[in-house]
Symmetry: C2
Subunit: 417 residues, 2 copies
């Protein structure tokens, strides 16, 4: 066994032992741990910002891009936002102990499914140090043990944030082994986590596509993630033109770098106002890559290549195609969607219902911008990620997604005939 | 790509294409497919029994054990039971389309989680040909595509049963690619299924421990299963002696070969009547392998070896140990349980609640026999298996466990600020 395997095995074993105590922790205990952690984050501001300056200096020396440096950077405002987010998680209702359903059997046995924490959660993330606090808070709020592995460029910041978080855990009398940070920057530790089946119950990668892909390819532990957000908006023939323009421009241009951003626009060939729709997008600064019919509508559009239909631009670019009705729109989506979020814009509610029924995506929307694809917007309070997998939890995943259930059977001495 | 990889890739692709039609199938259509399948099973009795005789002859020539031959054998009565079971599944309520929960957001968006089929389900099983009908019926009832791979010794019977089932699918106008049987007996096909990630969404093994272990070890596709049923019954100090005897004898001896059978008996050292309890078990024909304190109670007990605490006997043998209170019972269970079903017998409801909260098993019971661990007994109608995994579905898994959900967002033109 390599050193890193050994390390992760030890951490996993401790996390699992701590889990049995975490699973029995009260709502109040978990909430108070997070409120205390938030206080520690504020109290230890100087140390955290100093650690971050050290990471930033090293990163600059190593010539990291401005985008990466911005992700890494923490100032007083950002730290306050991190602490406030931890407090917000503390105030979310505890999912543990909720009764999902209950049946009383003719023989007098009462069967109930009761929500319990999931177990040991592994979080593998990149340069954003806020994940250390965010993910740890969500895992702890739902009674789980968590093993955090952040990016090597953020190691000092992560250690400083972790120190504040664990201070809260300690203060609330919860086991500190329930929240562990991998202290090494050795990349082999990630591989060891991905193979720690039996020790880690689920891995949640937080970061760019290459990280998610590596995790999905190598993991022997279940992974909760989405690789791509290739989101479609289909403008039906009966779409309201004002709504179509507002939704398409917002879905693409509000923030182009988020996973819920529209990447492909499908316009029904019988939709009466495709020209103004394309114009609105282009005027908003979007490059439109279209098929032949789209290109005829506006001279500023450029020709789409086959790979455009499978590209997550995360940029002010959209692939656009004319389709013959709902069936062709759904066939395109079935072939090219990453099953994250797909949208229909139409005033025909029957057609909307059919789209909703047949589009096989984690999130399907009618007359709304795909940029709403976010746990906060769904009323979940906070999210650990968005899953395009089909099992366990799908779409935005928050506290409930970090739980499972046990069957509780209460009898009075029943034996089975 | 090997021939078997090629075969499974083709089958998986067809199953996925068929899935989009299955997901939209109506309750009535799915029910009528199964009722028609049951009729076909009865109508084709002669062909099915003839195929089974052929399998039985080959199996006898190959010298298969009597136990295996019994599992393989189908007569008119068993076939009628298979057909009746398919009809029973037809009458179960359709989980697809159920609204799990719904939130209306302040901005007017309505968010709902709606149950949808899981996708493509792979079933890998051994000699029991009834699984061909059972598993196919459950998968179809919940709107999934299914790829069935039975044991090579049952190939002719499976083909005959499959022919009847697919006749029902056809008659109901559902896509026949939604229910496929792997027609080859090449063992490589199993390996190809286990690695068909992206084509098969979940694998459910049905059979002995060696099959389940192989599947769990090799699969790159999520697996829903239990490897062991090492179930504990803890007799608390305040247990009612009559209940203790009735529950322990039933949990061990009703059927010793089922996964919910008790394998370890933990008796509190302050429980006043351990002697009669052991006597009842021994008198019922059970071998008791005990620790030193147990052995002092009855001369007919034998000494337990360390491996006894981790053994699933599936036989009239029980490992028995004295424990000092709830904490030691729970520590033993945490170390040795397979997290299938664990039971406390006590009249102290506070202690029962603590046991229920702290025992980390898929099923925890108070004052009931662990042999109730069965989907039918839980009111689920039928079960595809029992899962000791923590994700997606836990404990007895029936139709609902073969579904996932999509988020449906209904708006009136909302864009995200």
């Amino acid at each position: 066994m390599t050193d890193q395997r050994q390390l992760i095995t030890e951490m996993g074993g401790k996390a699992r032992t701590a889990f049995s105590r975490m699973a029995g922790a009260s709502d109040a205990q978990k909430a108070s741990a997070l409120l205390a952690a938030a206080r520690h984050l504020r109290d230890e501001q100087d140390a955290i910002l100093a650690a971050n300056r050290q990471d930033m200096e090293n990163a600059q020396k190593r010539g990291l891009s401005d985008a990466l440096l911005d992700r890494l950077m923490i100032d007083a405002n950002r730290l306050e936002a991190i602490a406030a987010a931890v407090e917000q998680v503390a105030r979310l209702p505890d999912p543990v102990g909720q009764i999902i359903d209950r049946t009383d059997r003719p023989n007098g046995l009462a069967m109930a499914r009761v929500r319990v924490p999931l177990g040991v959660i592994g979080i593998i993330y990149e340069s954003r140090p806020n994940v250390t606090a965010d993910a740890a808070a969500l895992a702890l709020r739902s009674g789980n043990s968590v093993i955090l592995r952040g990016g090597s460029e953020a190691i000092a910041t992560n250690q400083a944030i972790y120190k504040a978080m664990i201070g809260g855990v300690e203060q609330a009398g919860l086991p500190t082994d329930a929240m562990q940070l991998v202290q090494t920057t050795d990349r082999e530790a990630v591989g060891a986590m991905l193979k720690a089946s039996g020790l880690i119950d689920i891995i949640i990668p937080r970061g760019g596509k290459s990280l998610v892909k590596r995790v999905q390819d190598e993991a022997r532990v279940p992974v909760l993630a989405h690789l791509d957000g290739i989101c479609h908006t289909y403008i039906g023939k009966d779409a309201d033109p004002d709504k179509a323009i507002a939704i398409a421009v917002n879905a693409k241009m509000r923030r182009t770098g988020v996973c819920g951003a529209m990447e492909t626009l499908l316009i029904d060939q019988d939709y009466p106002a495709p020209g103004p729709l394309l114009r609105a997008l282009i005027d908003a600064g979007c490059e439109v890559r279209g098929d032949d019919m789209i290109m005829e509508l506006d001279p500023r559009t450029v020709s789409a290549e086959p790979e455009d239909w499978d590209t997550e631009y995360l940029a002010p670019i959209v692939a656009a195609r004319m389709v013959q009705g709902l069936d062709e729109a759904l066939a395109h989506i079935a072939e090219h969607s990453s099953n994250h979020t797909d949208v229909i814009v139409t005033e025909d509610t029957t057609m909307a219902d059919e789209f909703i029924r047949r589009a096989d995506s984690a999130i399907v929307m009618h007359n709304a911008s795909s940029q709403f694809a976010d746990g906060g917007e769904f009323g979940l309070g906070a999210e650990i990620g968005i899953s395009t997998g089909r099992l366990h939890a799908r779409g935005p995943v928050a506290l409930e997604g970090l739980t499972t259930y046990k069957w509780v059977v209460r009898g009075t001495g029943q034996v089975r005939p």
